[in-house]
Amino acid sequence: MPRFAAESEGAALRVGLVGAGGISHVHVAGWQALGADISVFSKAGADALAEQHGLTVVSTFEELVDLVDVVDIVTPTATHRELALTAIAAGRHVVCEKPLAATSAEAKEIARAARAAGVQVYPAHVVRYFPEYVALKRAITTGVIGEPAVLRFTRAGEAPRAGSWFFDETAGGGIVLDQMIHDLDQARWLAGEVVQVYAVQNPPTREGTVPAVVTAQIVLTHLSGAVSHVQGYWGPSGLTFRTSVDVAGSAGTVGYESPDDGSIRMDMPAATSADDYLPPRTHAESPYTLELREFAAAFAGGPVPRIDLEDGILAIALAEAAVASIASGAAVDFNADVVLADLQEVVA
């Protein structure tokens, strides 16, 4: 039986963090804001992370799984499948940093295992929790801008550390799967299912390795007829992290560009480091905390979160379609039902 924090009245949720890289800090802060008791296991960096945030370090993943209610996976993408399956097999709920896995096939394996074990697994597509994107979603669902017609997304920041797994398309890396997947998920969230994907990238990926400075553009055709443009950019060291979104609908337009926030401005290129890629805090509760709060509530039997396993699988499948389009030069047909078909069979 899965263990729920709510079942042991008054006890703090026990979270097992696996991984101690760049994104781990905001997860730790989020869980701590929720009053969770955090243990960490990582091949590297666990001691430093634990010291900084007051966590318990454990020496094996198995020990971590045994100690906790929820496993939070913030490791390189290629390791997600094995870690998630181990946690699921032990009956633990799982939060997994995006992308859920290195391939949609692996992501579906995780989903099947989760459903079979009766545990909940959520991919951490945090952009769904950023206030601007939440407001945009509301503007669409309430009909303020009418029917979405043309959507544009951009995401730019300095490229990950040279030589890291982020550049290895065969190991869950690549600009499309790692960076642009945020906006692929946004496009689906805002404009619905996708029927065709066309993508271009420059410079091209060579032997599975993405160039250090690279840009890609993806055009999605949605089932509704709406079209989306997604632009990604891994730029030179020191490049300001920026995102933008513009949605034009039949009754109006709405958009946002991250520098427009205006509540904080930073201009300190000398202080930039490879680990400092997260956007500034501009709301009392960080989107990461809000996301984990929603997941924790679901683990305790609360409402279904706004992102689920199928969303996580489809985001990866869209990235795969984009990578295939980049490789072939042709537009690729996409069908969410086909992607999820074998998932449904197993559940049925």
Binding site: P148, T215, P236, T253, A330, A331
Partner: protein, 337 residues
């Protein structure tokens, strides 16, 4: 000696701006003719009435115009009517400033270039954004290598749908299409100038969701992805996505992504903002790009210099539109030819 210049048709909304600029100059004599204005279903003024408003002399027919003997003409007819006027002006030995896009078919575009070449007259394309300081500054920095190697470009040219006052913009025959034909070429021209190489392939998607229910049977939204032989990938959003209530007509942006970072220009972003009784106010304070373009046109004529942007870039940018229209039909990339 003043240059005799004729405005051929008031069909395009830009004609009024050109007329105002020309009538304010003391080195030109201006006439206008708008013989097709009467039959247009437009709500706005056309013909002699509009000429009076613009303070330019009016002639009833194109025959009258060519009998007057213009040194140069500005062709601001419906897109599909450019060819006949360009050919006629060329045969009369008049230099030509042609509104964009050059034509509505490759066949027409080729014939126009041939006519101009045979007559030895200049053909300039009405691509005023090329004259924006933000663009020339970005271009010069990119040429100087500041951006490193150019990798990708994102252009947006969005605006209101030209509907009530100039209905032909949404007439498939007269315009050659909708937003794809109207709004791809400006960005395509800037990219052409930046890269200096013709496009290789185009993949475009389009829909008619924007302004649906208003009886428009051409595309109102579209995304056009262009590949260049050097590897650069570019996408242009050509949608008529500004609602009628917007405080400004629209705008254009171009972001160039390179190995050293990005440069983004928004030549129509300079404005005073505020609110009046009916909502947001957007008061442009940028340079008059139309005036700069006409100045360059007249200077080329006066000094016998080649025109830029010329008919060749007009042709290359129309090739992108043509490939985009083919790609929308096939769903796949279309070769530029």
């Amino acid at each position: 000696m003043s240059t005799k210049i004729a405005i051929l048709s008031f069909a395009h909304t830009h004609a009024a701006a050109y007329a105002r600029i020309l009538s304010a100059r003391d080195d030109v004599e201006v006439v206008a003719a708008d013989p097709d204005g009467d039959e247009a279903p437009d709500t706005g003024p056309r013909g002699a009435a509009l000429a009076r408003e613009l303070k330019v002399a009016y002639l009833d027919t194109y025959d009258d115009v060519f009998a007057w003997g213009p040194d140069a003409v500005i062709v601001t007819a419906e897109n599909a009517r450019h060819r006949a006027l360009v050919e006629r002006a060329a045969s009369a030995g008049a230099h030509i400033l042609c509104e964009k896009p050059l034509a509505t078919s490759l066949e027409d575009a080729k014939a126009m270039r041939a006519a101009v070449d045979a007559a030895g007259v200049g053909l300039m394309m009405a691509y005023p954004v090329r004259f924006a300081s933000s663009f020339t500054d970005a271009r010069d920095r990119i040429r100087a290598g500041h951006l490193g190697q150019v990798l990708g470009i994102r252009g947006t040219n969005n605006g209101k749908v030209p509907l009530a006052d100039r209905a032909w913009f949404t007439d498939r025959e007269l315009a050659g299409g909708g937003a794809l034909v109207d709004h791809v070429v400006h960005c395509a021209d800037l990219i052409d100038e930046l890269l200096g190489e013709p496009a290789e392939s185009v993949r475009a998607v389009a829909n008619s969701i924007l302004h649906s229910g208003r009886g428009i049977d051409v595309e109102t939204g579209g995304l056009v992805t262009v590949r260049y032989p050097g590897g650069v990938v570019a996408t242009i959003d050509c949608s008529w996505s500004y609602p009628d209530a917007a405080a400004t007509w629209g705008g254009l942006t171009l972001q160039v992504v390179g190995t050293n970072g990005t440069i983004t220009i928004a030549p129509f972003a300079q404005h005073l903002g505020g609110y009046d009784g009916s909502g947001a106010v957007y008061s442009p304070v940028g340079d008059d790009l139309d005036a700069a373009m006409i100045d360059a046109f007249l200077e080329s004529i006066g000094r016998g210099l080649p025109m830029a942007p010329d008919g060749t870039v007009g042709y290359r940018t129309f090739q992108i539109v043509d490939a985009a229209r083919r790609s929308v039909l096939s769903g796949q990339p279309a070769a530029v030819h």
